[in-house]
């Protein structure tokens, strides 16, 4: 999912940085320190999730889990993914500093949209909840793949084919991610249903 450094044009990089800065600013302003502790621990979960490989077809994929983070964190998903990707950049050199803005926006923005679209689906047990969970997981990855593809496409017309291939290659990942997210939510619903109350008012309720 990460775009490497040195690929994108300065205009796209700049756009990514500005959008991520806005999202991070709003995320930080909305979050108090108790919420930030949750965000930090969930960033660590995201980081660990990205190292977990799930078998899929002949190969395997790693979990992205941006949808799950988005559901629980709302706007705080921006700063949360920013620090997780910064840590990955420093520890594993995935991506880098200049491209960090684009990579964070690609993953955080679809997750935020899914948060607002589906947060009302989790109040009662049933098919609706599982549907919401599957869609949050799958659409967050779809959105992330789409944003990444667009970032490539807007850089140079020669990248359009690569962008299309990148998006198509993520379709199985979307399905896998949707299933895993639904199963994680099913586990949480069975054991700690009170954590799933992000519907209705702000998502703040689950942190206090």
């Amino acid at each position: 999912m990460h775009i490497s450094e040195g690929v994108l044009s300065p205009a796209v990089l700049g756009g990514g940085i500005v959008l991520t800065a806005i999202g991070t600013g709003i995320g930080l302003r909305k979050a108090d320190y108790s919420r930030l502790t949750t965000a930090a621990v969930l960033s660590s979960v995201f980081f660990v999730g990205s190292l977990v490989r799930v078998p899929l077809g002949p190969g395997s994929v790693h979990l992205i889990l941006n949808g799950l983070l988005g559901l629980f964190l709302g706007w705080a998903v921006f700063p949360s993914l920013l620090v997780a990707l910064l840590l990955q950049a420093i520890l594993f050199s995935y991506g880098g500093v200049a491209v960090l803005g684009v990579n964070v926006f690609d993953m955080a923005f679809p997750a935020l949209v899914c948060h607002y679209l589906f947060r009302g689906f989790f109040g009662v047990a049933g098919v609706r909840r599982m549907f919401g969970a599957f869609c949050s997981g799958a659409l967050s990855v779809a959105g992330a793949a789409l944003c990444t593809a667009l970032a490539l496409g807007f850089t140079d017309e020669g990248f359009w084919t690569s962008a299309k291939i990148l998006f198509l290659a993520h379709i199985p990942v979307m399905a896998a991610e949707g299933c895993v997210t639904a199963l994680i939510i099913a586990f949480i619903a069975k054991n700690r249903p009170e954590l799933l109350r992000f519907g209705g008012g702000s998502a703040k309720g689950d942190s206090s």
Partner: protein, 251 residues
């Protein structure tokens, strides 16, 4: 899982001010991203190689990182030379390669590796707590620094927890395969990690409140710039300006 060796046997940057190193790495990333001509990007790579030599990165680590980043580069080489519109040339067999596409792929490859090398040389040797401290001194919002330091702190804890669950699953004969059972097991394991993480975050916050946490971190380590930093920084930024001007000239 995350036992990445950050230490270096020999690095000229070991005693440098982490603020200078972070600012230098960021400036280098941006400068190299702007470069478009083949000549200037090759010069950037040469500059980055000098930095890597100064940073004393061990060869196995370097090769591992370069291999990871070049997977994306390989993907670019497999698509762009064929997909790019424009004049075609015969290079090899029946395939018609686009001259512009090859140029773009080459520049991208060189830039990508140059930025990786300079980043590895400058930043990846700094201990992460010191990175947090330097970010704080560079006036990054306090809440973001808090988030960064806490994420780093709990990555290990969450990672260990996940590995414990994985060991437990293995001991019960769990072998991942393409089945609903695998997905359900992974979902349950991750769900447990997730729930434990949220519970843990509440305990941490309560514990911090009890110890009088008021939203600010007090670091014991002082970051100081040394005379060597004061010599290094102007030279480094002059080199970047030179590379930028070279690119403008060659474009």
């Amino acid at each position: 899982m995350i036992a990445e060796c950050q230490g270096r046997k020999f690095s000229l940057f070991r005693t440098a001010d982490p603020r200078t190193l972070l600012a230098a790495a960021a400036a280098a990333s941006f400068c190299f991203s702007f470069v478009q001509s083949l000549g200037a990007s090759a010069s950037c790579l040469a500059f980055a190689l000098i930095l890597a030599a100064m940073g004393g990165i061990s060869a196995p680590l370097l090769l591992k990182r370069l291999a990871a980043v070049n997977i994306f580069v390989l993907f670019i080489w497999l698509t762009i030379p064929f997909a790019m519109p424009g004049e075609r040339i015969d290079v090899l067999g029946p395939l018609r390669w686009s001259a512009d596409g090859i140029r773009l792929a080459m520049v991208t490859t060189i830039k990508c590796n140059a930025i990786l090398l300079s980043f590895l040389a400058l930043v990846s040797g700094i201990p992460l707590p010191l990175v947090g401290c330097a970010l704080d001194r560079l006036r990054v919002p306090a809440k973001l620094v808090f988030l960064f330091l806490f994420t780093f702190r709990y990555v290990h804890v969450v990672g260990e927890e996940w590995q414990r669950l994985q060991t437990a699953a293995k001991l019960r004969g769990f072998v991942p395969s393409n089945s609903l059972h695998t997905y359900r097991t992974i979902g349950n394991m991750f769900g447990l990690t997730f729930v434990n993480a949220i519970d843990r975050s509440r305990r941490i916050y309560e514990a911090m409140l009890l110890r009088g946490f008021d939203g600010s971190f007090h670091t014991v380590t002082e970051v100081k710039s040394t005379p060597a930093d004061k010599r290094f920084a102007p030279l480094f930024f002059a080199a970047l300006v030179f590379l930028f001007l070279l690119d403008v000239y060659l474009r």
